[in-house]
């Protein structure tokens, strides 16, 4: 059975989702969902180990060889993303029952679990597949599930946020559909490995150029790269906390993966960067995103919204790394994808703990929180230090590589801008510190920590970020190998 391991991460949650909708009773479905989450994580970890030891894994659906059929192709890059996504899902699911009990309507936990599992299926399905059209199908599974997950919030504004996300997300997906169609039209194939070879033969046609353009714009909408981020702040702010933690940590990262997969392994770095000069488009967008979103984050009055804008800025860092087109830059981008997912996941989980007790994520309600919820506040500050990029946190490693990358290329102004943006990050993290530690708690407030079942997952993620801040050879080492592999065209 071990040779069928690659299908476990997709098929297991896909089967568990209808089971959840049938079982209905919270006492049954939460253990089921959490158990599935951890099994999937174990399977993904096993896949990563197998890839590291013995190279890429290919699994053909129904045993039809690609390009006739659909295949999974698991290499270092997507195994890395699989572990990231499933790991975050597993941790968030430990946290979920308690958080869901307070933030979701009681009678639809079974539907919520089903949607959560489908979202996971979609995200992992996008990552694992080796077929361009299949990406579109699983992209829609994850997207539809996330619209639903966002909209179940008690805050009715989540409905508007989900609607906006639906419109922008569907435009993005339709652009991707157009691009896949154009690529298919010029090559006659949908398999990614096959496309990579055949696109080279027709890469000077105007049709392929447009396929590239539509693909990039479509995926950028999904990544929420500035200025196509309009759906993100509201969606993250109004969604239930555990949904925000999960989606913020995984969804944009998977879209970034799709971007890397198409740009580097199908079109090739040479075509994208040398022939088209695509980095000249990415670089200004990334820099603008970093500066503008960080600055906007400082002026937010809601903690979730503050973190959402910070996410837009952090996506800018990742894209900046990619736009350098060098091994160091790409390593920085990949490492930051991983580190940012862990840090943002942890931060949003901390916010979830706060919301559980305060029933609000507004900064003005958090006066004296350092005394009322000392452990959670401390966790938030630790996560915030990671966002700033303070040494000994995981955030430092990726920022360090980014700085190295800019120095290698002699991009002095960008180096300076990176340092300034770190100061902006200090400013927005300080907003929380100031309110929580330097303002007295309201008189009637009692100290009331979040329950252990939520504290433990939060600290699990935080501990991971601290661990990867010290143990750099796992993230940075793997990221560097993946970067070298990507720049070599994925051969």
């Amino acid at each position: 059975m071990s040779s069928h391991l690659p299908i476990v991460p997709i098929v297991l949650p896909m089967i568990a989702a209808p089971l959840c909708s049938l079982l209905r009773r919270p006492a049954l479905i939460w253990p089921l969902t959490t158990g599935v989450g951890w099994l999937v994580f174990a399977a993904c970890a096993a896949l990563l180990m197998q890839v590291v030891e013995s190279g890429p894994i290919v699994y053909t659906m129904a045993n039809w060889d690609a390009p006739i059929g659909i295949e999974y192709r698991i290499d270092l890059l997507n195994a890395y993303i699989l572990v990231l996504v499933s790991g975050i899902a597993a941790v968030v699911l430990l946290y979920a029952p308690q958080s869901a009990a307070s933030e979701l309507p009681q009678d639809r936990h079974h539907l919520f679990c089903a949607a959560f599992l489908l979202c996971l299926t979609g995200l992992l399905g996008i990552t694992i597949t080796g077929d361009a059209f299949n990406v579109y199908v699983f992209l829609e599974i994850s997207s539809l599930a996330s619209y639903a997950l966002i909209s179940v919030s008690r805050d009715p504004r989540a409905l508007k946020a989900a609607y906006k996300y639906l419109i922008m997300g569907t435009i993005g997906a339709t652009f991707i559909l157009i691009a896949v169609g154009l690529m298919y039209m010029m090559t006659g194939t949908l398999n990614m490995a096959d496309l990579a070879q055949r696109v080279k033969m027709v890469e000077d046609t105007r049709t392929i150029l447009m396929a590239f353009a539509f693909l990039s714009i479509g995926i950028m909408l999904k990544i929420a790269l500035f200025p196509m981020h309009a759906w993100l702040p509201n969606a993250y702010s109004y969604a239930p906390s555990l949904v925000t933690a999960f989606i913020a940590a995984t969804s944009t990262k998977v879209s970034l993966y799709v971007f890397l997969r198409f740009v580097f392994t199908i079109f090739g770095a040479e075509y994208a960067f040398d022939t088209l000069g695509f980095n000249d488009v990415l670089l200004p967008l990334a820099l603008l995103g970093i500066v503008v979103a960080s600055a906007v984050a400082i002026y937010q009055t809601d903690l979730k919204r503050l973190l959402a804008y910070s996410s837009v800025a952090q996506i800018g860092y990742i894209v900046l790394g990619i736009s350098m087109g060098t091994v160091t830059g790409l390593t920085a981008g990949l490492a930051h994808m991983f580190n940012h997912a862990l840090m943002k996941g942890a931060l949003f989980l901390a916010v979830g703990c706060i919301v559980l007790r305060l029933h609000s994520s507004r900064l003005e309600d958090m006066a004296g929180l350092g005394k009322r919820m000392p452990i959670t506040s401390f966790a938030f500050v630790l996560g915030g230090l990671g966002l700033i990029g303070v040494p000994l946190t995981a955030g430092f490693i990726s920022k360090w590589y980014l700085l190295l990358g800019t120095l290698e290329l002699g991009w002095w102004p960008v180096t300076v801008l990176l340092l300034i943006s770190s100061l902006l990050a200090v400013a927005y993290v300080w907003r929380f510190v100031e309110v929580a530690y330097f303002q007295p708690p309201p008189a009637e407030a009692s100290s009331d920590e979040a329950p252990l079942s939520m504290q433990i997952p939060l600290w699990m993620l935080l501990a991971t970020t601290l661990y990867f801040g010290l143990q750099t050879d796992v993230t940075a080492g793997l990221a560097q190998r993946a970067a070298l592999w990507l720049l070599g065209g994925g051969q």
Partner: protein, 118 residues
Amino acid sequence: MSDALGLYNYWIAIFLMMVGFYNVIASGNLVKKLIGLSIFQTSVFLLYITMGKVKDGTAPILGDGYDTFSNPLPHVLILTAIVVGIATTAVGLALVIRIQEHFGTIEEDELIAQEDSP
């Protein structure tokens, strides 16, 4: 001229896509936006089906007397895409109904105005 004869199907598909796309971004009514989205997607289907057509071909079902068939693969892809389209429309409409129930309107400008004046 040969371009015009060989490509007009694509051009009209593109025109239709853009009519749909315009409706999505220009309309202020949430239902109308979804109508635009549905037209946008349906027109992309036309792009795919057009490329699958082969001259003098017939529907890809084996039968006596036919030996030239249009390519079945785009048909399969679009069958899947139609399902995705209706799924998206349904979820979008469900959201619209809830928005109407909570905010009493489905016009974008009125929704924004409500947000500004709490």
